[in-house]
Symmetry: D2
Subunit: 150 residues, 4 copies
């Protein structure tokens, strides 16, 4: 039981250390708001730094947050021993990113030894209402975890 607690603690530290080392996500003030085995939620507040020409969240930002949510969902099953890099992703934007917050929820569909397949749904929150904004599918490949800086 205490072993499990130690493992979970190491995993959580490893995930947060990795997330906080992502300059792109830090510059946007993105937050890791939920982690469970095989799943991950990231939220992103609206700002000029994530906007497109009409004042909505940029499609490329929506893709980047979905990519990150799927990747960290995979990392919950891989870290602290291994981690993953994105091989490819595909995103359909089904509604404009009009709102004050993006919430991306990623989950693992298949965890293989070398490849992980994840998906994510992205919601945009406007006046407290969540609306489906985008869906993503993704392939990640597993690599040994680079040495921790902690």
């Amino acid at each position: 039981m205490s072993h499990q607690a130690t493992l979970d603690h190491k995993l959580a530290l490893s995930l947060l250390e990795s997330f906080n080392a992502q300059g792109t996500l830090m510059a946007w003030d993105a937050r890791l708001t939920s982690i469970t085995p095989g799943a991950c939620e990231i939220s992103l507040p609206y700002s000029a730094s994530v906007s497109q020409q009409h004042g909505y969240f940029h499609g490329g930002v929506i893709g980047a947050i979905a990519d990150s949510a799927g990747g960290y969902a995979a990392n919950t099953l891989l870290m602290p021993v291994s981690e993953c890099l994105t091989a490819e992703y595909k995103i359909n934007i089904v509604a404009p990113g009009a709102g004050d917050t993006l919430i991306a929820r990623g989950k693992v569909l298949k965890a293989g030894k070398n490849l992980v397949v994840s998906s994510a749904e992205v919601f945009v929150v406007d006046k407290g209402q969540e609306k489906l904004c985008a869906i993503m599918q993704q392939t990640l490949f597993v690599i040994p975890k680079a040495e921790s800086r902690i």
Copy 2:
């Protein structure tokens, strides 16, 4: 001939005005480095704001720049009358984004009345050498151009 020149000037202004209104690209210091009918090149210097945990360009940023290059390639055929929004894109990252500059070259493959299909290649420049980093396919839908702010 002078009519054509006027049209080109309006088109170029319209493209630049739209590009410069994209807060995401401005925050990254992305530049529109080439425009020809049906094609577009964007370059992006490396900075902490576009990095991932290993110090490379973030996969989501690579996707966002490819998405933008394909979209502005489409806009060269649509503006100033119409413009496009991203319906979907898919990107394969074929090499780590390790270098000082990303260059994304987008081109239109099919321009329909309602839909445009574009593709893009993304190169990473390291010590002056361009290396293929990612390939993208994309569907855009055409909307009337929102009123200019100029």
Copy 3:
């Protein structure tokens, strides 16, 4: 009430007529096994005509059945007035297609005036057990329904 029944009957006839006119699906002996508004299930028995070199369902067949399931899910909302054509799809194969039957379940995620976004899950049935085999995302565009042959 009788008006509604007539409408549903016309819709069902329209869907079946279209499905049965797809030579590819007929040659494979694919069946439309469930239709509800915005959703569709197709099942496909294994045969040499849908196999690859190891005796599994061919990856291209898995994609074709997923594409069809997403398309007919959209058609439940469009026919008999309109119908749809595939603009693009993307499929991740997460397990080999090893079994005696493929079951593809498509559903509509967003139905717009000109574009519909669908997704599908494909399961392979082996000794009575369903196993997730593939996931798909897709964009369809809406066209007026060609005149019925009935």
Copy 4:
């Protein structure tokens, strides 16, 4: 030099044996019309077995042929020692498959130890004129070649 010829002969045999073992492609009368290192061309005659409801090539068939062309392009670099399975593919259909022959040309963009990324262009030939019909991107994973049946 004679060693190289022997190797090429073994590779060609291995490719043809694998292609001819694909029941799906055989049922359609698909042909491997060109092979060079890292590239492959497949052609497919129109028939009821590859049609959709309007008498064009079925979108799922277009995807299956593109998938096969990308896969055999990869196999030219892998066989007879290894071979590949499709992890995922994404296809944009840019024009209806209206014509008498489909020609898919696949090529390898990146050949890694475990993953290969390929792309393909699909053309439809109508009255002797080739027209771009679809574009595809794909990820394949490398596996040891199953024992030859020859």
